[in-house]
């Protein structure tokens, strides 16, 4: 008998809260039992709940929280191959393996992400232009299908289902084991270089140049700056250091509760962005930083997403081929200025049929939720579609089903794979229904 608990959950952005029934299996045997009770709106495996929108929700349905399936099951110190359960977090892997000279090849912007979620969203990091997405490093996966069979999938093993599972948003089943190659690293320290750039064109040129030379690169844009300073920002690039710098202890700050109103208001953000821009020194010299501090700048404030108050926030993330599409998008945000803007050079598409990524530029913007924010997102989505770009499903809450085929060109193949593996629609999510992923 499976214990279901009624829970109310929102995405990481704190918007679109829905009620659903949750099981939290602690053992694979308990996970198997849940398959016999799928409920009317199907099941969805959920990792750490770091998807910003509704990808990790199944409103009115049932979810399987995988957080207690958190064991590391194999590590080969010759090849770097690690096998782990889906609930192991990225931060957990890094904390354990970094001191031994190994790192996950792809590290997303928060360490809370689970390995299962990293596969299901085919996440990327600041080195995407060099090493691709998370799924590109997966050796094999064990996938539990709706009939209770565990299938081992890999590039040469049920390849179609493997490609549908990577970036497949949980729609093919529950990932029960992940085998991924860790990367050898020379130290736990990064040499980080920051450069202040005064305009969007200069920022794009600088980011392109840095991306060609460095393993990690990303740009922060001052979302409050308008023409002629539109797109001014800071380009950050980094490479692994050959030697460890002395440790710099950091203590996390915890946001204990959701404040009654957003603390991330325009006035505060204007000051913050202004200060941040001026705080970056003009001299161009790389400084050592701990890898975790570089990977997870926001994780120092545990629960930072609560700072937006009860209304929460929305994130927009697109990738477009041509940098010329970026300026109109930034200008479209004049009425509601984004609180955080990040630009990244991307290279290549992921392995998954629904992977996010094309060669071009990925723009991510956070907006406090408000009456006009959805309309703004729709406008940005139209601009993205116009530019033959993609919207990142793991961040999304606002996309319409009509835009999906244009952005995801392998959608038909994905639907075909779902028809084969899950004809009874046993796996569903709120995102699945919103975007009409039905085969």
């Amino acid at each position: 008998m499976v214990m279901w608990r009624s829970i109310e959950r929102a995405g990481w952005g704190g918007v679109a809260a829905e009620r659903m029934e949750a099981a939290r299996p602690e053992r694979i045997a308990a996970l198997l039992a849940t398959l016999r009770e799928p409920g009317a709106r199907g099941l969805l495996a959920v990792g750490a709940g770091c998807s910003y929108g509704d990808a990790g929700l199944n409103g009115g349905g049932r979810v399987l929280l995988t957080e207690r399936l958190d064991r590391i099951l194999e590590f080969d110190a010759q090849t770097g191959l690690m096998v782990a359960e889906p609930g192991v977090s990225v931060a957990d892997v890094i904390a354990h393996f970094l001191p031994q000279g190994w790192c996950l090849p792809v590290v997303p912007g928060t360490g809370s992400v689970s390995l299962g979620g990293a596969v299901a969203s085919d996440v990327h990091g600041k080195n995407q232009h060099r090493v691709g997405n998370f799924g590109d490093h997966v050796a094999w996966l064990d996938l539990l299908d709706a009939d209770g069979n565990v299938r081992r999938l890999g590039p040469g093993q049920q390849g179609a289902l493997f490609a549908a599972t990577i970036g497949g948003m949980g729609m093919t089943g529950v990932i029960t084991r992940i085998a991924i190659f860790l990367q050898r690293i020379p130290s736990s320290t990064m040499m980080v270089l920051r450069e202040k750039v005064a305009s969007l064109d200069a920022l794009i040129a600088c980011l392109a140049e840095r991306s060609s030379r460095s393993e990690f690169s990303v740009a922060w844009i001052d979302g409050q700056a308008a023409d002629p300073a539109l797109g001014r920002g800071v380009v950050e690039s980094a490479d692994w250091s050959d030697e460890d710098a002395p440790p710099q202890p950091v203590s996390p700050f915890r946001v204990p509760f959701t404040p009654p109103a957003s603390l991330v208001v325009p006035l505060v953000m204007r000051r913050f962005n202004h200060r941040y821009w001026h705080a970056v020194p003009d001299r161009r010299a790389a400084v050592p930083r701990r890898a975790q501090a570089f990977f997870f700048p926001l994780d120092r404030v545990v629960g930072w997403n609560r700072l937006y108050g009860p209304r929460g926030f929305l994130q927009f993330q697109c990738v477009v081929r041509d940098a010329a599409a970026l300026a109109p998008m930034l200008r479209a945000c004049r009425a509601i200025s984004p609180t955080l803007v990040v630009l990244k050079a991307m290279q290549g598409t992921g392995r998954g049929l629904m992977s996010f990524g094309i060669t071009g530029w990925s723009l991510a913007m956070d907006f406090p939720a408000g009456p006009d924010t959805m309309a703004l997102l729709q406008r940005l989505h139209a601009q993205t579609a116009e530019a033959d770009g993609q919207i990142y499903l793991a961040k999304d809450i606002a996309m319409t089903a009509e835009n999906l085929p244009r952005m995801y060109r392998k959608l038909d193949r994905f639907r075909g794979a779902l028809r084969d593996v899950d004809p009874r629609l046993s796996w569903q999510s709120s995102l699945f229904r919103r975007l009409k992923l039905f085969p």
């Binding site: 694979i28 045997a29 099951l73």
Partner: protein, 249 residues
Amino acid sequence: MRQAETWVILGASSGVGRALAREVAARLSAKIILAGRDLHDLEDTATDLRIRHGVDAEVIGFDAAAPDTHAEFAARTTRRAEGLITVCFLSAIMPAQDAVEVQPTLAAEMVMVNLAGAMVVLLHLANALEKRRGGRVVVVGSVAGDRGRRKNFAYGASKAGLHAFTEGLAARLRPQGILVTLIKPGPLDTSMTWGLPESGLALDPRRAAGAILRATLRGRGTAYVPAIWGPIMTAIRMIPAAIFRRLRF
């Protein structure tokens, strides 16, 4: 060089059992024997402990509800153990009180695991520890065993029996220098309480495991986990029976 020691965790595939194994592996360089029914699951935990903490971990099958197998289990466990042995009994089941009232045989199944199984295996292991003239015993009871509450008295009864047994076992083993620690946790955030309405009281099993380990290493006779349950249960124990039997909680 540290003296060799072995921690035997009975009920190791429970949420708190796994957490305790991890806590022991992280804090002590002890050998760990994981005992329980789900051998696949226990093998996975043993691998995880070896990779993360470099400890020696192994699995021995144990079914609390099959007392005729406990003599062999105790013999095998003591053969495999090295140095000072710490036995931790955590096996428990908790069918809902209303389910027990509809189907009373569930009460017998529960007592079989929570109390009869505990007594048989701990008596066997106590004999072995006496022969070795040393060791520790940790028994996980429950705040539910301190009074017979309307909402959970069947489970409470099994734990009350376990408390009395543990108290006597402590008296028996004390002359040999074997310390017995009785842990009385409040609700823990594991699969046992997942089906109950969310209370916000349930303690993270990692924190519970840390508290259990500390109480054991300090040689505490009884420890509430978290400690706040100590004064709460003292107050609840003082409620006169005439009043208590009118309470619905």
